[in-house]
Every structure is written in C-alpha cells, then in structure tokens.
C-alpha cells in the first residue's frame, strides 16, 4: 500500500465558525492505481489534495486529526524540511489551471529543470538534457526550441503538458492531479489524460485524480470515491459504481448525466436542491435535505461507511 489516509480532518476556522472542509475521511491507494475523487464544487476534494501535501494555508486552515501514511511514514509527523523533500519529489501535483500555475517569467525548461536540480541535485547541463527528454515524453515537439519559450507563448494544452513534465521529472510515486483538464477543450483533455495514463502506467506511478467529470472517471480511474460535504459517501471500483451506484447522491449524479441515446427534447435531471452551506452542515446525513429516500434516522444520525459486496462501501442508512 502506497498511501493510507486514516481519519483525516481539515478544518478552516473563521469568524463565522468552523468550516469542516474535510471531515474524517479514510482511503488508500495501491501502487500503480488511479483513484478518482469525485464530488461537486466545495465537497472537499481539493482540500484533501492540499492536505496530503500539507499545503493548507494556516491560519485559517488546519489539519485537525488523522494520519497520512505515505511510503511507511506519517506525513503529518514529518518536520518541514523532510516534508519539503516529499513535495515534488515523491508526491507531485498537477494543478487545475495551467495558465496561471506556471511561473510567468521563467522559461519552460528552466521550470522543468528546477525540481531535478533542487531535489535530485543533478547538474544543470544534465538536467537540461533530462528536461528535453521529459518534454519529448509529453509530446512537446522540438524541446530545445519550445523549452526556451515563456508560458505566455504556449497554448493551454502545451502548458499543461509542461506541468505534467514537471510533475514527472523526479519520478514521484504518487501524482495528485487536481482537475487537470478543466481549463482545456475536450480533444486536448482526452489527449492529456491518455498521456497521463500511459506515463503513469509506464513508470508505475499511482495517481489521485480529482475531478467532477464522471466521464473522465469512467475512462481513466480504477477506483472511485464520491465525496459530499467533506465526507466520502461511497467507495467502489468503477465497474461497480457505474453499474450499481448505491448511495442516493451517486445515483442522482448518474441520473444527471445526459445520455447520447436519450431523447434530446427531454429535460436534464438535476440533483435536487443546493449543496449544503459548509458552515452549517445539516444534522445527521449531510445529504438528507436533498435525498429522495430519506428516513427519520437520516436527520438524526450520521451514517458510517457500510461494506457491501465487491469492496463496495457506502454511507447510507437504507443499507443498514
């Protein structure tokens, strides 16, 4: 097991109260596995990712509890210097906006080279060569030329490719991809994800894929965790999740996806209601105000993950 997160909670403290962005979640990733974390905006996916790297701005944020065991070490117990050696080196991150995630006044090669020189202590000339190889690997043509360009000279797809090259540069064992393709158009999305999948496969890297695009999940992930209001409400392999969604929220999500064989005059089926205010999470199951199958118990007690068949778990009282 590469990464084992146990009872992780990340809270933000503000004048309005305590915001439980991530509330007691546990999950694990094996070597070479692609785990997708899905959920609406504000469900705590990105905060989970940043918590893993301990990059939560503090104050106001704070990891209030849990364990993050990565390569047999608890990341929450590392000193800042050791933690820095993990970031970019063992765990790399790909951000959602390639447009703004690159340093605007350094050339691409300079940026791709940086982690190599910094973490691995490789000489500049050697790092430059390695950088060209990486750029070639992510299908950027003519690395010596493109490498000299500055981010504003490249297209969104190229920037994201450079980001991927950067993430892969130190050969990390885990890549966190936080909505890696949100800002890109559909063809480029497909190309990039295909590339990421191939490269991670080739290098045996695991990936935590954060997205709200269920299409991407179906195609690229092995295991899916659905998040709602800072909690994981359903865990399953993709085959199971797409054929037998169990949590009412997952079901509603699946129902909301437009189908290609559907009558186009028919209206889309949205998930009823609004995401909860995180300062004011409903008592009991956070989903109960929007849930079509709610019972008395849902308003009182918070459900725990209940194991079903095929490593499938869901947090809903109806399976009790």
């Amino acid at each position: 097991m590469l990464l084992n997160v146990k009872h992780l909670s990340t809270h933000f403290i503000s004048s309005k109260g305590v915001l439980k962005a991530v509330d007691d979640i546990s999950f694990s990733i094996n070597k070479g596995e692609i785990l997708a974390l899905v959920g609406e905006s504000g469900s705590g996916k990105s905060v989970t990712a940043l918590s893993l790297l301990r990059l939560i701005p503090n104050p106001p944020g704070k990891i209030t509890g849990g364990e993050i065991v990565f390569e047999n070490r608890d990341l929450l117990k590392l000193n800042p210097e050791d933690m820095r050696q993990v970031r970019g080196n063992r765990i790399a991150m790909i951000f959602q906006e390639p447009m703004t995630s690159l340093h605007p006044i350094l050339s691409i090669e300079e940026q791709v080279m940086e982690p190599l020189i910094h973490h691995k202590g490789i000489q500049r000339t050697k790092a430059l060569n390695a950088c060209y190889q990486l750029l070639e690997k992510v299908h950027i043509s003519d690395p010596p030329i493109r490498g000299k360009s500055y981010p504003h000279m490249l297209s969104g797809g190229m920037k994201q490719r450079s980001m991927i090259a950067m993430a892969l540069s130190c050969n990390p064992s885990l890549i966190i991809a936080d909505e890696p393709t949100t800002a890109l158009d559909v063809t480029i999305q497909a190309q990039l994800l295909e590339l990421l999948k191939d490269l991670t496969n080739e290098m045996g890297t695991s990936m935590l894929l954060i997205t709200h695009d269920l299409g991407i999940v179906a195609r690229y992930a092995h295991i899916v965790h659905v998040m709602y209001a800072g909690k994981i409400v359903e865990k399953a392999s993709i085959e199971t999740l797409y054929s037998y969604p169990r949590h009412p929220y997952t079901m509603a999500l699946m129902a909301s996806i437009p189908r290609i064989d559907q009558d186009c005059r028919k209206k889309l089926t949205p998930v009823q209601g609004n995401p909860p205010d995180l300062f004011n999470i409903p008592k009991g199951c956070a989903f109960h105000p929007r849930c079509p199958k709610k019972q008395e118990k849902c308003m009182e007690e918070t459900p725990k993950l209940i194991p079903l068949a095929n490593n499938h778990e869901t947090a809903c009282w109806i399976y009790e």
Partner: protein
C-alpha cells in the same frame, strides 16, 4: 528532434539571451523620455569614472591671482572664490552625487526589499511587526536626522548614505510587501510550494522577480531623491567636507557671488537638476516599459 538537440541548442540559447537583452535596451531607447534620461546618466557616469582624464585642471589647485574669473579659454566655466577651475570641480563633483545616489539606493533597496519580502510572505504577526517598524521609520524627518548625525559623528558623506538608507527603505519595504501580497496567492506560487521549493527559494526566485518592475522604478526615482538630499545637505555644509568638490557645496559658495559671477552657482545647480531629472526620466520610462501591456506592444512592433 535529435537534430535540433545537436545543431541548434547552442545557437538558440545565445539568440534568446541576446534577444532578451536587446529588447529591453531597445525599448528604453524607443521611449523618448527614458532615452534622454539614459543618455544623461551615461554621460554623468562617464564623467564620474574618467574625471581625472576629463578635467582640464586639478580641481583642488588654488590660484589666488585668478579669483572669480568669468569663462575663458583656459577656464571654460571660470574660476571660483579661491581660483580653482569650476569645470574641473563640477566634473569631479559628479563622483560625490552619483556615489551617494547609487550606494544609498543599494542599501535602502536591499534592506527594504528583504523586509518587504519577509513581511508579505510570512504574514501574520511578523508582517505586523515589520510594517509597524516601517511606519515608525517613516515618522523620522530626514533633515533633522541628518543634523543629529552630523552633530554626533561629524559631517560627511557616510551620514548622507546612512540617512537616505535608514529613511528610504520604508518605501521599498511597502512596495515589495504590496506586490508580494498580490502575487503570493497566485497558483504558480502554490505550485512552487507543491514542488517542494523552500520559503527562501519562493521568496527570491518566484516572488521577487515577479514584483521587480515597480521596485526598479522606485530605485531609479530614489537615486534622484538621494542626489537631491546630498546637494541640500552639502548646501548647509553637512555633506562631504572641503576641499573635495561637490555640486551642493559649489552651489552654496556660488550663491554668495551670484551678482558677480552667476555661472558659479548656475552651473552646479544645473548639474543637480539634470542628474535628478535624468533618473526621474529613466524611472518613468522603466515604469512604462516594464508594464506588460507596453512590453507587448514593443514585441508586436518588432
């Protein structure tokens, strides 16, 4: 692809570096005001560095038979009250003004930028402490401090540099902090942290270069105001002591003979004005050039 690696890597590298340097210099020359400023500054620097070769006479050689003479072929700007060649003294005087301007800006910029970076990046209590110290320093009146320093350690050039640095860093600190606060939240800074960059590295490699534009402008303007302060101090005898030639000093002595030889005070006054103006022009020009929009225009025109 390998072809490029073998043949073109070196070539592209030099081309690119050349291009970068040329584009900023070219932009400076295209911008009229900054071009004028730059030329004046270069002339002044030339004067300061090569003054022994440029000055027609020894600036300290007195000749009491030729006192307060009007311009002649031997003394192009005439002579001063003890018969020294005014032109030579003005040429040598550029050394004092420029070194005060540049040195004090280096010191004040160094302190200010460092503290501003730390305040902006660390935030919280450290930020508060640094900024309150900055506020305190802003309350110190420059000329009074200068007088105190002169009384304490005697008048001299060092005083001026200390005073300008002690008072000037606040501007740098505030501007740097403001820039850092703005840039700190951008995704590429977070990305740098996610790549494992240390705080030091983030501050100096990521935050500083991206907030450099207004700092360069401030530095240029700060050189101008340091020259002014030095001249003012020299006027009151608080700066470098005679016989070392200084513009402010010449202005002060010439002022007494304004009705007999007006050039004696006009010439150094004009030099002070020119020098300050040149740095201000350069500052203005740099502000325009370092503005990304303007830079874009230049690239498009190319």
């Amino acid at each position: 692809m390998t072809r490029h690696k073998q043949n073109n890597t070196g070539k592209f590298l030099t081309n690119d570096l050349q291009w970068k340097r040329i584009s900023i210099v070219r932009a400076l020359f295209k911008h009229k005001l900054s071009c004028i400023g730059l030329i004046i500054i270069m002339i002044l620097l030339f004067m300061a560095i090569f003054s022994p070769f440029l000055a027609p006479h020894d600036p300290n050689e007195q000749n009491l038979y030729h006192v307060l003479e009007p311009p002649s072929w031997d003394h192009l700007l005439g002579t001063d009250d003890v018969g020294r060649d005014l032109l030579s003294r003005i040429i040598y005087g550029s050394r004092v003004s420029l070194s005060v301007g540049i040195l004090s800006t280096l010191f004040s910029g160094g302190i200010g930028i460092l503290l501003g970076l730390i305040a902006g990046y660390r935030g919280g209590i450290i930020d508060m402490i640094i900024m309150r110290i900055t506020d305190t320093f802003m309350c110190i009146p420059g000329f009074v401090l200068l007088l105190v320093m002169a009384a304490a350690i005697g008048p001299g050039l060092l005083n001026i540099i200390i005073v300008v640095s002690v008072l000037g860093w606040t501007g740098f600190a505030r501007i740097t902090r403001g820039q850092v606060l703005q840039i700190r939240e951008l995704p590429y800074i977070e990305a740098a942290a996610a790549c494992g960059a240390s705080g030091f590295r983030i501050m100096f490699r990521h935050l500083l270069p991206n907030s450099a534009a207004p700092l360069i402008v401030t530095a240029s303007l700060s050189i101008g105001s340091a020259i002014m302060l030095e001249s003012g101090a020299a006027f009151f005898g608080l700066s470098i002591q005679p016989p070392t030639p200084s513009w402010g000093k010449a202005l002060r002595i010439g002022y007494s003979y304004l009705e007999i030889v007006p050039l004696f005070s006009i010439a150094p006054g004009l030099m002070i004005t020119l020098a300050v103006l040149a740095f201000n022009f350069l500052g203005d020009g740099l502000r325009d050039i370092l503005d990304p929009q303007f830079r874009g225009e230049i690239q498009r025109n190319k």
